[in-house]
Symmetry: C2
Subunit: 376 residues, 2 copies
Amino acid sequence: MQDLGDGVDARPYGMPSGHEAHVVRRDVPWLTADPVSSVNFTPLHELDGIITPNGLCFERHHAGVAEVDPARHRLMINGLVDTPLVFTMEDIKRFPRENRLYFLECAANSGMEWRGAQLNGCQFTHGMVHCVMYTGVPLRHLLNEAGVRTNARWIMPEGADASAMTRSIPLKKAMDDCLVAFAMNGEALRPEQGYPLRIVVPGWEGNMWVKWLRRIEVGDAPWHHREETSKYTDLMENGKARRFTWEMDVKSVITNPSPQAPITHGKGHTVLTGLAWSGRGTVERVDVSLDGGRNWRPARIDGGSHPMALHRFYHEFDWDGSPLLLQSRAVDSDGHVQPTKKALRAVRGENSIYHNNGIQTWHVRAGGEVENVEVS
Amino acid sequence: MQDLGDGVDARPYGMPSGHEAHVVRRDVPWLTADPVSSVNFTPLHELDGIITPNGLCFERHHAGVAEVDPARHRLMINGLVDTPLVFTMEDIKRFPRENRLYFLECAANSGMEWRGAQLNGCQFTHGMVHCVMYTGVPLRHLLNEAGVRTNARWIMPEGADASAMTRSIPLKKAMDDCLVAFAMNGEALRPEQGYPLRIVVPGWEGNMWVKWLRRIEVGDAPWHHREETSKYTDLMENGKARRFTWEMDVKSVITNPSPQAPITHGKGHTVLTGLAWSGRGTVERVDVSLDGGRNWRPARIDGGSHPMALHRFYHEFDWDGSPLLLQSRAVDSDGHVQPTKKALRAVRGENSIYHNNGIQTWHVRAGGEVENVEVS
């Protein structure tokens, strides 16, 4: 327990109550061979609203967290530009800034559920997502400063970590809404989120949001690097792979009740809540089912509806104490409806790791305990 | 410097980069006699966007931070109600919830500036304000559960800290938009912000947002307690005091450049940014002046405009290297215009501590250094 009795200067940078010590990011030990290339998960079942606190945003690294001194950090823009440029952090902060609330979801979120219910908790099935307000400079300002050549069609951001992460991004997206971000939820980016600079690619898979951003190359074709060929492609039933599946599909999950957050108060007034999002715009509606998808009721969306941001939904009901099969189904502003896992597998098979946006089912037992199940 | 090279589990609850160790809440040692009843200030000049990270929200305590076990905490509602009630934390979370982004400003913010420019930095002149997304239950749900009697007109929230903080709040406000909040920016309230429960009184002075909320009494008249008589009243020039000045007036401040954030890049492209807010609604516009109020230019508001929340504004300009007198002036949706300090003193005198929303002036020297000044 922290000592808070000595006045206001005990903690110049504040921390949560000791009673909340269980509210942390957690990993799945068997998931990866080496902690340097690993992942941990946002504790969605312990959170509310639509903002993820910076200390609880999930982490995914391909070669550990880079330690970067902002005073020595540089961003280069090269390739098909009139004038290759190198920016300091101070240079970047002299361009006009924008502030936007966006979700970031790893393409592999829910990836372990393709072959059936595996993990007992929304933190593990859906916790590779977070949502913060970014502050940054629209990438088009920097590209325009360098002067993009007429034959340019793609950009390739590169990270300063040991994996030198690279991805190909269409120039159109780069000029439209990508940000070169230096702050999240008001303060500097966290080290594990790319301090001091990352690219924000709204609505698109998290791997493209290159962290510790040190270079952007402009080109006329995609680079076909490792992370867009052997990884982050979707192996289909026929042995061929879908490529460039960048947009994150409409998705939702009930965070409470859930396996890590059972019903402990018995019968009566019960608050069901969860999160919904889409890489194609806003979430227009969320329906919830208490009986495994037979009957649906509209949920209440609260806390604002921002494009490509998490949406919070609630459904209040009187629980009679009998078993439930909880599901949520989101519909986005582009008309997409979140599919059942069965429908998804019928099209994509079970070989994939990425882009699983199927409807999640939680089984609530009479005692209030909750488990991850599948319904046919 | 923290060691981040060992993979993702080094910090289950993440912290800022060691390079950001200077971004902390700071106090003014001479301000109060005892740290148990003291204050520290949000580092506004180091932040961007409209959300304050939980670890950097300013603190103000009248008797230190209460250490409350949420499992043992109770909220009582008594007084002019049909059925006095006692709620556990779990009981409260069974009512419908709302999520709202609100600023909280101490009535004494900028209070040391009534008699002239005192403090060299917006952290100290304006840093008793923060803005987070609260999750809570509308207070009307709890009051309706208890059944408010027809002669009830006021409520009195009471804190569980050693000062047993109490304030009188009109029943109309309580039923309109007050929240009984348990989360901020997605996670549980921080200890210094009232963990596990506080009342949120949108747009009204921070002292009324009673922390460690343990009781709400319903009555037919205000209680005239200490914090609404000897404190939190505005002593006028004629020796009389204004009372019940709850709403926070329209206000703004330029956070960069400012004394703690001088211009270090020399002439040319310069980003001026700041914050604006009003307890009476949204901020409709912010104008900025580079010459001490002679000429005004419209600033660009970015990051969303939410009622009774901080608004972020920017003004990009080419600095020619000559001295500047920076000012910002906000106008709210209720038609109020932020006044000059001179105009404010003409009406209120200089005896007051509270509700100073006068226009702030920063003097930028030719070298880029910035100081707090007053212009006549």
